[in-house]
């Protein structure tokens, strides 16, 4: 991002739009909004270079609350909007806000394709496992059996794991945050911004109205340390209230949970998190883990982005082609003159 003038110093308030926040009191979206505003203030990017786009859903009202450029789009198309903005102007820092319905139901195709193309967009997926805005139907991430307005007897569908899907589509960056942990979220958002390529961040987000308590075990003081693990590249994957549990691979290459001090396991045996390993075989396991749920940046590998490749190709072609403007093009190939 070429900067000519000095970027002003911001605080999160500079990113508040002044529009009244209309989410339900207690909605997880509110805490995530705060984390985003805090993170933006730290990025050193001029305000006008941010573009925040979204689809439709409770979460998708997000752009209205940001004092940046933004589009509140149509349902499911956030990924395509973000793609268009970024390709059109790679100097913009593009943030895509999307729900589990918006990104994974109607928008599933754009989601996997922007990941495949490695468009340098930051995708913030607000996963409350429900359709909030339409008042409580199940979503593609609702656990099988969940009772909702449209599944009065419980759903009969397996949910997606957004991380597995993203990695299956070729994701170069996948992280997971959780609404309540603002500091972790800021940390993740800064890494997402730093990553060149599509950064998919799944936020586990509580919907107090239609799916309250979905992540209670992961946020409650008493239980969260046992039920979640925060991973960081280069650090050992240790968790638990007493930091006495960790992840290891078994002889088949499968992740297992071990207790340090039991069965001869020492801290040295615990696996070091390698977010940069290109082959995703461990990242898919981390993303898929149900217990503990993995938070933090699970995968971060560098590949050429779409815009980088486009720029590279543009330059190559322009260096070689004899056609420099419309006149050249119009007169290229077979032409003939008619004299008066």
């Amino acid at each position: 991002m070429a900067e000519t003038k000095q970027t002003p110093k911001y605080t999160f308030k500079d990113f508040q739009s002044g529009q009244q926040v209309r989410w339900c009191p207690g909605c997880g979206d509110i805490a995530i909004l705060r984390a985003v505003q805090m993170a933006f203030a730290q990025m050193g990017i001029p305000k006008e270079k941010f573009v925040v786009v979204s689809g439709i859903g409770c979460s998708s009202r997000f752009p209205y609350y940001m004092a940046t450029y933004g589009i509140h789009g149509i349902h499911g198309r956030a990924g395509a909007l973000a793609t268009g903005v970024k390709i059109a102007n790679p100097e913009l820092s593009v943030w895509q806000i999307t729900g589990d319905g918006d990104a994974l139901a109607i928008g599933g195709n754009h989601f996997i394709h922007e990941i495949r193309r490695n468009i340098d967009v930051n995708v913030l997926l607000f996963n409350n496992r429900i359709y909030g805005l339409t008042k409580g139907q199940y979503s593609p991430t609702s656990p099988k059996g969940m009772i909702t307005k449209s599944s009065p007897y419980g759903t009969i569908e397996e949910p997606f794991n957004p991380g597995s899907l993203a990695i299956g589509a070729g994701a170069t960056f996948f992280a997971r945050g959780i609404d309540a942990n603002v500091n972790l979220n800021v940390e993740i958002l800064l890494q997402a911004q730093a990553h060149k390529g599509t950064s998919v961040v799944e936020f586990l987000q509580n919907c107090v109205i239609f799916n309250n308590g979905a992540y209670k075990d992961l946020t409650d003081k008493e239980t969260k340390d046992e039920n979640t693990i925060i991973v960081r590249h280069g650090e050992k994957m240790i968790f638990g209230k007493n930091k006495d549990k960790g992840l290891m691979l078994d002889e088949k290459g499968k992740i297992k949970i071990v207790k340090i001090g039991e069965n001869g396991v020492t801290e040295d045996d615990i696996l070091v998190h390698d977010a940069h390993e290109p082959d995703p075989f461990i990242h898919v396991q981390l993303a898929g883990l149900q217990h503990p749920v993995v938070l933090g940046v699970i995968r971060e590998v560098r590949k050429e982005t779409y815009c980088e490749a486009l720029e590279r190709q543009m330059k190559e072609v322009q260096a070689k082609s004899p056609i420099k403007n419309m006149h050249d093009l119009l007169h290229s190939g077979n032409t003939w003159k008619v004299e008066s």
Partner: protein, 616 residues
């Protein structure tokens, strides 16, 4: 130019030639060579390829026949012609498929080597038609093209299969002799094309000359000279509708200094627009091949927000898919060009054939009150102008513009006098520059135009959020207020109407009042205009008005229509423009002449229909 010996030389105003053969026989290639040579020799030319839906339809069958029709002449060549004066049939199936389109008394050139019992059967002939009455009705040249191609190339170090692929050039050679065409343009073309494979250049040249010499030797009784057209002086090139469309957008981008962004998904017959723009990385154009039509248009909306000249191209089914997103652009009031190359519908329909049945979809195929501008090009080459104008209107009026072309225009080719960019009207998008405004209100409208200003994402000081929900006048905030909604609906409507001020009046070809006005729109221009001109030559009084601006209609439309007792609307659907005009100006006596066959009108059927309507 060759010496045609003892045969009679007849001078003609215009003539129609059709090349037909198997999909693999290179008929498109042959036809284009003939057309180019003719154009360079000073004729007006109009061409139409006609190929099967299959990539390689079964050889030797009717379904596998690929054709290319060319109309050349001295002036007013507005269609590829109804019936052929000369048919080249590379095999029996090509003959069978096209016989009904050859004028009685016309010339048919066949490769007699292919008329084996087996091939005749595949083509569906019970017996050899050449032995039949056919020879009485047509002048038939039974050339042993296959044999002579082999013969002509046997001393070249080239394999059999490759050599035979040049059979089409033998046929072309015959036709060149027949019409006194110069071989040099084509030979030069080979040299250029096969720069790195001189043996292929030589092969094609040899066979072409062999055909030419063959024709010379068999001493045809009659050959033709086509008068030169009185063309405006200038530099000309050959262009088809899709290329012209793509280039029109590129020209608008250069003129405004905005980068062109095309988000598109391949679909017949529109894919070439995407391909043409993908090839223009040298001009800095971005062609994004999206995962589907929806992403095609939505990425374009994103690109428009980021300040590009944004466009998307598709055909009917794709337009249907884009409709929800076009509506977003209506709400966002961002410039966007949507190109619909119409094909036969409904559903997958006749994907390689032209039709004009997406008109009502373009006008009204979206939820809610959703005004978009609709334009239609009418000739392959004026696709350039209307693509340019679509971009101009979109950019200046901050509105989505749908440009309708069709499969006939898309694939049809015409010599085209290359314009200079200076001739094209200026384009002035309402972009606001940094510091220009104290405070930016996204939906504040520029007085007298209803147009809102365009603050391009990235411009300091104008940060703002827009969206698909109804918004408050001026500020653009979300608003559920009832009166505000109605006002905004009307503002969007008025913004569309204002475009009328920027579009030329409807013109009448012929007397501007009278008994009958024939009305058309889009790709039927050539056929209708030719029919009307011919009828006037025959002494009838009839006029023609052709619509390029459909929404809004030209300001003088009602006035023009009011001067005629009857209005005959000819279109390739079941009467969609008829319905539209009647709903706008119900007071006139409209009649319709429609055809939904996936093929263009013929001039003769139009003439008949016009005469009938003149009478009753």
């Amino acid at each position: 130019m060759g010496n045609n010996g003892k045969s009679i030389v007849e001078e003609k105003d215009h003539v129609v030639i059709k090349f037909a053969g198997d999909s693999g026989d290179g008929m498109q290639f042959t036809g284009i060579r003939f057309s180019e040579t003719s154009a360079m020799m000073g004729n007006e030319v109009s061409t139409l390829p006609d190929y099967p839906a299959e990539i390689r339809a079964p050889k030797g069958t009717i379904g596998g026949v690929s054709g290319f029709q060319i109309h050349i002449g001295s002036d007013h060549i507005e269609t590829p012609g109804d019936y052929a004066d000369v048919l080249v049939a590379m095999n029996p199936a090509a003959l069978k498929a096209n016989l009904r389109w050859v004028k009685k008394g016309g010339t048919i050139i066949v490769d007699i080597d292919t008329f084996t019992p087996q091939n005749l059967k595949k083509a569906g002939f019970d017996e050899n038609p050449l032995k039949d009455g056919l020879t009485r009705e047509y002048q038939i040249i039974q050339a042993p093209i296959t044999t002579l191609t082999k013969e002509a190339t046997k001393d070249l170090n080239i394999d059999h299969k490759t050599a035979l692929q040049a059979r089409n050039m033998f046929a072309l050679g015959i036709v060149y002799w027949l019409f006194h065409r110069d071989l040099q343009y084509t030979i030069n073309f080979f040299k250029q094309k096969f720069k790195n494979k001189p043996e292929l250049a030589e092969l094609n040249k040899r066979v072409l000359e062999a055909g030419y010499n063959y024709a010379h030797n068999i001493e045809l009784s009659r050959t033709y000279i086509i008068k030169r057209a009185k063309l405006e002086p200038g530099t000309y090139r050959y262009i088809n509708g899709n290329t012209a469309t793509a280039w029109g957008l590129l020209a608008a981008a250069e003129k405004t200094g905005l980068q062109l962004y095309l988000g598109s998904y391949p679909i017949t017959p529109a894919s070439e627009i995407l391909q043409e723009i993908a090839a223009r990385k040298d001009l800095g154009a971005i062609a994004f091949q999206a995962e589907d039509e929806i992403a095609g248009v939505v990425t374009s909306i994103g690109a428009s927000f980021a300040g590009k000249l944004a466009a998307t191209s598709t055909s009917g089914p794709g337009l249907a898919l884009k409709s929800e997103a076009i509506n977003l652009a209506v709400m966002l009031e961002l410039p966007l060009v949507i190109i619909d190359v119409q094909r036969g519908g409904p559903s997958t329909g006749l994907p390689t054939k032209p039709e004009q049945a997406d008109l009502l979809q373009a006008l009204w195929g979206r939820n809610g009150e959703s005004p978009v501008a609709v334009l239609a090009a009418s000739t392959p080459s004026n696709c350039f102008r209307y693509a340019y104008m679509a971009a101009k209107i979109a950019l200046e009026h901050m509105i989505p513009v749908i440009l309708l072309t069709d499969g006939f225009l898309a694939n049809g080719s015409r010599p085209w006098k290359i314009p200079s960019l200076d001739e094209l009207p200026d384009i002035k998008p309402p972009i606001v520059k940094e510091g220009e405004l104290e405070k930016y209100y996204p939906y504040e409208r520029i007085p007298g135009t209803y147009v809102r200003r365009w603050a391009i994402a990235g411009t300091p000081g104008y940060e703002h959020v827009i969206g698909g929900l109804e918004k408050k006048q001026v500020t653009g905030e979300v608003s559920y207020d009832p009166e505000n909604h109605e006002k905004m609906v009307i503002e969007r409507e008025n913004k569309l109407k204002e475009i009328q001020k920027d579009i030329p009046p409807l013109e009448v070809d012929g007397p501007d009042e009278g008994e009958l006005l024939v009305v058309g729109w889009g790709g039927t221009y050539g056929h209708i205009n030719t029919a009307v001109h011919e009828l006037r030559k025959e002494g009838y009084t009839v006029s023609h008005a052709h619509f390029h601006y459909i929404n809004p209609l030209p300001a003088n439309t009602e006035q023009v229509l009011s001067k005629f007792k009857k209005i005959l609307i000819a279109e390739m659907n079941r009467g969609q423009f008829f319905r539209y005009l009647r709903s706008e100006f119900p007071q006139f006596d409209y009649r319709k002449y429609t055809k939904v066959q996936g093929i263009p009108f013929t001039v003769s059927e139009l003439k008949q229909a016009i005469k009938k309507n003149l009478e009753d």
